[in-house]
């Protein structure tokens, strides 16, 4: 009886709950999720796990929290105490009392006594076992384990942010292609004309005429530059309002008001086709290599080229959802198109997109580590898994540099692939049989 009730309860549940239940049956995927949480945790708390500064210390009767303070300093909210600023080598400072992070090395800290590739098993010249380099060092004595811990942050950041960009583009384009198809977006002739006319003009005023201003602002600081950039976007939007407002009265003229069909599906599909036949890695390499190294650029480029999979998924979903009854109901209630798409169509087709996003994150992480392995796109002072692995290639005697960072990349990429597989199985269990 109780079992029956349980079953009924299960039947009652929503689509999301069914997917979740199916997902939980997939052991590799569940384990991947656990490992993912672990890696995310390490990435988020990397500063507290591996840092040459202590978490807490007491010098001459005064207490300090140098790592916390560092965050405030980076945000421009505080200044590091002058006596702390003076310290260059935290290892040798005499503390009254101290709590050090688990690994007392920052990824960029050079340990001159253990330079030239010291193996994890070799005898290391360290003051105590606390300071042992557990995964060895590189040529200038940087701790490999610390580099790997901080590398996880970069990997996760690139994977998640690149895919966020890709998702925004992919979901938008896929949704409009799927919802409107080839013959559901009709608009008046005058609106198209005016929009086409105003588009270059708005672009010109918002971006080209303000180019000088933006470049100066970016030269000043990243924040003021970004602010100017956002202003440009706002300006662009405001100017583009003009043609659409103008079109409202003008379309009453019969000639201007003639409805024209916009084949959005064809346009988006062609775009996807073009992007997919471009040798992606080569193009990403080209874009990233010719500009100054920056992680943000790497993320943006990967994101801009990586949205096709997501767009295809959401397009297919919306094609299906479009003909369902609740969509008709929403239309009958007189909801606006944007509301139907944003509030009704997209939320109900997002689950399958998760598959594509999971695989996409794996691919983005792989691309980023490939780039940093090749030594491009990542600033010299940033340590990534790919960079550590690249050192292993140059120094064959340092086997630990070849094995550990590569293994980290492998694990991260694999868990995302397994998650993608698990989601695919959970969403469409037929595929598994």
């Amino acid at each position: 009886m109780a079992q029956q009730r349980e079953e009924l309860k299960e039947l009652d549940q929503s689509y999301g709950a069914i997917v979740k239940r199916q997902f939980k049956k997939n052991r590799p995927a569940v384990w991947s999720l656990r490992i993912l949480y672990f890696v995310l945790f390490i990435g988020l708390t990397a500063d507290f796990i591996a840092n040459d500064k202590p978490i807490y210390c007491k010098i001459d009767g005064k207490t300090y929290f140098p790592i916390f303070k560092e965050y405030l300093v980076n945000l421009g909210l505080a200044k590091q105490a002058p006596e702390i600023m003076k310290i260059t080598d935290w290892k040798t400072v005499e503390f009254d009392s101290v709590i050090r992070p688990l690994i007392p090395y920052s990824p960029a800290t050079t340990d001159y006594y253990n330079a030239q590739y010291v193996s994890p098993f070799e005898k290391q010249s360290v003051q105590s076992s606390k300071f042992k380099h557990r995964l060895g060092t590189d040529d200038i004595g940087r701790d490999v384990l610390s580099g790997m811990i901080h590398g996880s942050r970069i990997a996760m950041l690139v994977g998640v942010l690149a895919m966020s960009i890709a998702s925004i583009i992919g979901i938008f384009l896929g949704a409009i292609a799927g919802y409107f198809g080839d013959n559901r977006l009709k608009t008046s002739r005058i609106r198209i004309w005016l929009n086409l006319l105003f588009l270059p003009f708005a672009f010109f005023i918002a971006f080209m005429a303000r180019n000088n201003l933006m470049m100066d602002a970016f030269g000043e600081s990243l924040i003021s530059g970004s602010l100017q950039f956002i202003w440009s976007f706002v300006l662009f939007g405001l100017i583009m309002l003009i043609p659409n407002l103008l079109a409202i009265p003008l379309k009453l003229v019969p000639f201007f008001g003639k409805k024209i069909n916009i084949p959005l599906d064809i346009i988006v599909n062609r775009l996807i086709e073009v992007l997919r036949s471009i040798p992606g890695l080569l193009l990403i390499l080209a874009v990233v290599a010719v500009f100054d190294a920056s992680i943000i650029l790497v993320m943006i480029v990967i994101g801009l080229l990586g949205w096709t999979g997501i767009a295809r998924f959401i397009r297919a979903e919306l094609l299906r959802v479009r003909s369902l009854e609740y969509m008709e109901a929403a239309e009958a209630l007189g909801f606006s198109t944007s509301r139907i798409i944003l509030r009704h169509a997209i939320p109900n087709s997002l689950t399958p997109v998760l598959i594509s996003i999971a695989f996409g994150i794996a691919a983005a992480i792989l691309t980023e580590s490939t780039l940093s392995f090749l030594g491009i796109g990542v600033p010299p002072d940033t340590i990534t898994w790919g960079k550590l692995l690249a050192k292993g290639r140059v120094a064959p005697e340092a086997w630990w540099l070849a094995i550990f960072p590569g293994f980290a990349i492998f694990i991260t990429v694999t868990i995302f692939n397994l998650l993608g597989d698990g989601l695919a199985d959970a969403i469409d269990p037929r595929l598994k049989q």
Binding site: P200, F201, F204, I205, M208, A209, N211, N212, M215, R270, E273, V274, R276, S277, I278, P279, G280, L281, L282, L283, L285, A286, V287, A289, V290, F291, L366, S369, T370, F373, L374, I376, G386, L389, G392, R393, P396, E397, W399, A402, I403, G406, F407, I409, F410, V413, T414, N417
Partner: protein, 517 residues
């Protein structure tokens, strides 16, 4: 079918145009001056030398720029503000263009800016007319160095400071011993205080006046008025694609030198001036043949393996191999390649089985017998090809297994079994062909990956293939080589997709590309 193929090839065109625009646009926004890259090691336009040297240096610069077509406008049309002159492309150096562009968008009065720029050039040139002696050396050096800085400076305050700095520098007098012949016809040395740089003062005053004119006559409204300039077919992009030598008939104009990409003229490498094609030729042969071997191996092993695993479904072998294949598929190629390189190519770990780099092409002479040639090559190429193969192999086997299992559950297989057909016949005749369909689509997605992937593998194993050449070109911003590699690999990718689509219909007659009426 033919119609379909033609239609597909038509779709190639916009794709290739997009790729070419992307890479061309990239070369335009990327920092660095291709002419200077080409010139490096050649004539330097430094601070020393005579006016004639300086002019000669400029002449060589423009000569090379013209040879490379860089004296042309970039594109068919320009979309700029009215503050920009139509003829900006005629300004030689890139940093000067940028400086003038920034000034234009700030002050919006090109005539005055142009006067300022020209007077600065005149000043620099006239500074070479002053004989460089012990007395004048420091002042001249300072003036020229500051002038060179001014060519990159767009901040008005800094410009004025620098101009005044030059003025101060050239206004200083020098005290030196001059040999004077007195009335008695004897030579006599007297200490003279005089400014040998006197002629320059008028020049620099002119420059300062011109710059204040720029500031006073600013027309900032100009930068809010858009302007489209049509440059016609004589532009860099058109020249790169179509060349400037006419397609039909002959031209006697010796200044035209390019046949264009579409006629197989890929230009000259910026690094050593060799034709791009001769740089790429061998690399392309190496990359394509290695990829073909890898693809052949992938298909030759994966298809029977996949079928075998599917037949042994749910056995221990199936489970073990499924997990193994999944792991293989997830292993990053560059990690495996690095590991193989570290552990199997040097004596550190006592497993020095393979050479660590290259293909051993230097060991091959025309006299080498075929057999030993094969041995050298396969000895060198074993690890790289292994790296190129394993991941695709794992992926394909998994797909093949899935495909076969899928077909096994179809009704017609049950019918065949019920008829009492031999199992081998069911597998190879009924199942195999139908499960090939997904495998063939994968061919299309394998290809772009392989082109990118071979870049990494060639880099790791130092194989002189196309990927490695492309990587070198990227780092050195060797645009002609890079253009060609990107375009060729796009074309290869498109062809691969087309071939797989055609194969698709060959394997499955139900799929036709002609629309049914």
């Amino acid at each position: 079918m033919l119609k379909y193929v033609l239609k597909r090839i038509l779709i190639f065109i916009p794709t290739l145009i997009v790729v070419s625009l992307m890479i061309f646009g990239l070369s335009k926004v990327a920092p660095g001056d291709p002419v200077e890259l080409r010139m490096s090691g050649g004539l330097q336009t430094g601070d020393t030398g005579q006016a004639s040297d300086k002019q000669q240096g400029e002449k060589v610069y423009f000569e090379i720029a013209r040879e490379m077509g860089l004296d042309l406008p970039s594109f068919y049309a320009d979309f700029t503000s009215r503050a920009y002159p139509d003829t900006m492309y005629k300004v030689g150096r890139r940093y000067e263009k940028e400086m003038l562009g920034r000034l234009c968008s700030k002050f919006g009065n090109w005539p005055q800016i142009s006067t300022y720029y020209k007077s600065l050039k005149v000043f620099e040139l006239s500074s070479y007319n002053i004989p460089k002696t012990e007395q004048t050396f420091d002042q001249l050096l300072n003036a020229r160095a500051t002038t060179n800085e001014l060519y990159r400076e767009h901040n008005e305050d800094v410009i004025l400071v620098k101009l005044n700095n030059i003025k101060n520098s050239v206004s200083q007098t020098q005290t030196y011993d001059e040999v004077v012949i007195n009335e008695n016809g004897e030579s006599d040395t007297t200490a003279v205080t005089k400014n040998l740089l006197q002629p320059l003062i008028a020049n620099i005053d002119g420059v300062i006046n011109n710059f204040t004119a720029v500031q006073q006559n600013a027309k900032p409204i100009n930068k809010f008025i858009p302007k489209i300039t049509w440059h016609g077919l004589k532009n860099q992009y058109h020249r790169w694609l179509f060349g400037d030598i006419p397609w039909f008939g002959k031209s006697d104009d010796p200044t035209l030198a390019s046949y264009g990409f579409l006629r197989g003229d890929f230009g000259y490498s910026l690094r050593d001036g060799r034709p791009v094609w001769s740089v790429l030729k061998e690399g392309l042969a190496i990359t394509v043949s290695m990829n073909l071997i890898a693809i052949f191996l992938i298909y030759a092993i994966a298809i029977p393996l996949g079928v075998y695993i599917a037949v042994k479904r749910d056995s221990l072998f199936d489970r073990v191999s499924t997990v193994t294949l999944f792991i293989l598929y997830s292993l990053p190629t560059f990690w495996i390649a690095t590991m193989l390189l570290v552990f199997f190519t040097n004596s550190e770990y006592g497993m020095d089985f393979f050479p660590s780099f290259g293909l051993g092409l230097d060991k091959i002479t025309p006299e080498t017998s075929f057999f030993s040639k094969l041995r050298t090559l396969s000895y060198h190429a074993f690890l790289p090809i292994l790296c190129m193969t394993y991941s695709g192999l794992a992926f394909l086997s998994r797909q093949m297994r899935g495909g076969v299992i899928n077909v096994f559950s179809q009704d017609y297989i049950r019918t065949a079994r019920a008829k009492g057909l031999a199992e081998s016949k069911i597998i190879w005749k009924h199942t195999f062909r139908n499960s090939l369909i997904p495998i063939i689509t994968i061919f299309a997605s394998l290809l772009p990956g392989m082109i990118g992937g071979s870049l990494i593998i060639e880099y790791i194993f130092s194989i002189p293939g196309m990927g490695n050449i492309a990587f070198g070109a990227l780092l050195g911003r060797n645009w002609p080589v890079l253009f060609t590699v990107v375009m060729l690999s796009s074309i290869l990718t498109l062809l691969g997709i087309l071939v797989s689509d055609i194969l698709y219909s060959v394997v499955d007659p139900r799929i036709t590309f002609t629309k049914k009426a």
